[in-house]
Amino acid sequence: MFESLSTRLDAIYKKLRGRGVLKEPDVDEALREIRIALIEADVSLPVVKTFLAAIREKAVGQEVLRSLTPGHQMVKIVSEELTALLGEDFKEIQFAPQPPTIILMAGLQGSGKTTTVGKLARRFKQKGKTCLLVPADVYRPAAIEQLNILGKDLGIDVYQAGEEKDPVVICQKAVQEARRKLCQVVILDTAGRHQIDEALMTELRAIKQTVSPHEILFVADAMMGQQAATIAQAFNEAVGIDGVVLTKLDGDARGGAALSIKSVTGKPIRFIGLGEKLDALEPFHPDRLVSKILGMGDVLTLVEKARQTYELEEQEELEKKIRKNQFTLEDFRDQLKQVQKMGSIQQLMSMIPGMSQVKGLKVDEGAFSRIEAMINSMTREERAKHQIINASRKRRIAEGSGTRVNDINKLLKQFAQMQKMMKKFSSGKMRGLNLGQMFGGRGGGFSPF
């Protein structure tokens, strides 16, 4: 159903079905697909190459688990290795034994530093820490005002630099003030800069030397391209970063930059930004991101779940039907049953890439039994060819299922839409947004009917 790495790999491994171990030529063929997937996900090329070599070593000669196809086995190896590389689960920023804990933000222009200062401050405040926010971006128009507004919204102090225009002096004085006021955390917001801008990198080093921050956070846009590795390395070499925040992951970013950054710096990704609002900061968990990088939502988890309920053959049959546009109401009913076995719809939806954006998504789980009742009241012929359902048939179905003709109309309309969407999925146009549109969802609660 998804144009994912796993289906692409499956195609390669069709001929391999039933054989016991992963052989060199097959692995190499798979690695070519994986290479494309990683580059399309913006993983920096040197990182891709090193990664593939590691995978190759792992994969060749490995036995294919009985429950898996060789394609899935490769995906499993790749995702395990990616997860390992991206690092352990969430690590909180350590507070200094002697307050204040000083945090310095650094990164390219527009990566999300100032917003992340606000998000972190909110988080610390909730943990009962007192903060001082420091505007050390004296260049960008209204940068100071931006931080002032965030501070005011949060009810958190922002250092007032007055006429001072030197970022190093501002940071120094701010830290002194924080000590005086017994603040527990100081967050220094700096101007965006390119790693090749010598003057500004020198300034960053000077700030570091002057205030000795406990934590230097590299704030990176999750959509960053091939340069991510070079840029992160340069920042790390210049000031030595301690952690990474990955912003703007609320869209369809594949987030390959995360792998590049983590690989070259070895520093933990601490948080991810999932929106512009100040509560949209979450601790980082590698497994989620791995699925994004591989373009599979939480498809791995879905695959796991699906395997428990589906027979593989059945699943393939269904995929074939979708591809050939032969998906009928009967299939739809069977799917619903399967889906219900897998867990709540809400939970499943949240695993699909892009679904989380459909704001206020609410699923009326009861609606699904109504749909089932309606489909059950149809004749076999009607289920196979919904186009023949005319007004009198609709009345009969409504009566049989205890619903109204209007409900039948809605079902048929949505089913037609769904068929259209599925055609798009299978031709590889699957995107979060389409899912949103599929349910006509924007804002205000979602219900299938």
């Binding site: 494309i36 070599a53 128009p141 209204a142 090749i196 406990h214 846009d221 340069q227 594949r254 549109q437």
Partner: protein
């Protein structure tokens, strides 16, 4: 640095193999990128498969993406086969010509309509450089003797209005604004109205950054566009998408979805003064055929240049 923080590097040690290999790889790419693609083709001699492999890598590193890279390489190989382009210089020339062609195919200048102000709506994802580009562009048009008004249509982000006002103040250009949190289409309406009433040459409207997958916010932009059309039926004359050169293949998704929702007339690529080459434009031009109007090469008012395909390719190739 506290004890705990430095401990975190420990788990890396046992993966020494991976990291040392990666380091070598990085140094190598840095060297090969330093002179750019141009360096690959320096000197005499025929172009062999290794050179093409290196070229592929250089293109990928410049964010050209797998599909456009494949296209370019196939064309080059065809050139070698059909036209006998085997000498390095010939292949290099062919490569440049090919890339310039892709980029130039759709180039058109922005046209000012007669008898009414040009209305320019500036859109894009968060932090791509919209507001800065507006500041630079307005200053440029003013230098050209045009009368411009700005509209502070980003009523969402903290201090977005103040940021645009600061640009307006520096260049002494009027800026229409409302309170933070106001309806952006109302601000757009006022701005276009002001441009019409005062018989100005151009109205440039800023909008809040938004990710292209956010359905609600895309609807909000569509409304802004509709409302502008109520003042001037032919407006906005130019809907400009601002892309950040440091972003990779996601720029494709940005362009596709913004175009689908709002029909884009032109592109701006910012931050080309960094180390990113913006090769994704090749991919984009091939797929969507939207002209690239300007490039941003810094944060100062003068750091905006008209897009020039040849110069862009030279910078990408590094010669």
């Amino acid at each position: 640095m506290s004890e705990e923080v430095s401990n975190e590097q420990a788990p890396q040690e046992n993966k020494g193999g991976f990291f040392s290999r990666l380091k070598q790889g990085l140094t190598k790419t840095r060297e090969s990128m330093a002179g750019g693609i141009g360096k690959l083709f320096k000197g005499k001699g025929e172009v062999g498969p290794e050179l093409l492999d290196e070229l592929e890598e250089s293109l990928l590193l410049a964010d050209v993406g797998t599909r456009a890279t494949e296209f370019i390489l196939d064309e080059l190989k065809r050139g070698v086969r059909d036209a006998g382009h085997r000498e390095r210089q010939d292949v290099m020339a062919h490569l440049k010509r090919l890339m310039v062609e892709i980029l130039e195919e759709n180039q058109r200048a922005i046209e000012f309509p007669s008898g009414m102000p040009l209305v320019l709506l500036v859109i894009g994802v968060n932090g791509s450089g919209k507001t800065t580009t507006i500041g630079k562009l307005a200053a440029r048009w003013k230098m050209d003797g045009k009368k411009v008004v700005l509209g502070a249509g980003d009523t969402f982000r903290a201090a977005a209005i103040e940021q645009l006002q600061e640009w307006a103040r520096r260049t002494d250009i009027p800026c229409i604004h409302q309170k933070s949190g106001a309806d952006p289409s109302a601000v757009a309406y006022d701005t276009v109205q002001a441009a019409v009433n005062r018989k100005l040459d151009a109205a440039i409207i800023d909008t809040a950054g938004r990710l292209q997958t956010n359905v609600n916010l895309m609807e909000e932009l569509k409304k802004v566009k509709r409302v502008i059309g109520k003042v001037l039926p032919s407006a906005p004359h130019e809907t400009l998408l601002v892309l950040d050169a440091s972003i990779g293949q996601n720029s494709l998704s940005q362009a596709r979805l913004f175009h689908e929702a709002l029909s884009i007339d032109g592109l701006v690529m910012t931050k080309l003064d960094g180390s990113a080459k913006g090769g994704v434009l090749l991919n984009l031009s091939r797929e969507l055929g939207i002209p690239v109007r300007y490039v941003g090469v810094g944060e100062k008012v003068e750091d905006l240049q008209e897009f020039n395909a040849k110069a862009f390719v030279e910078a990408l190739v590094g010669e």
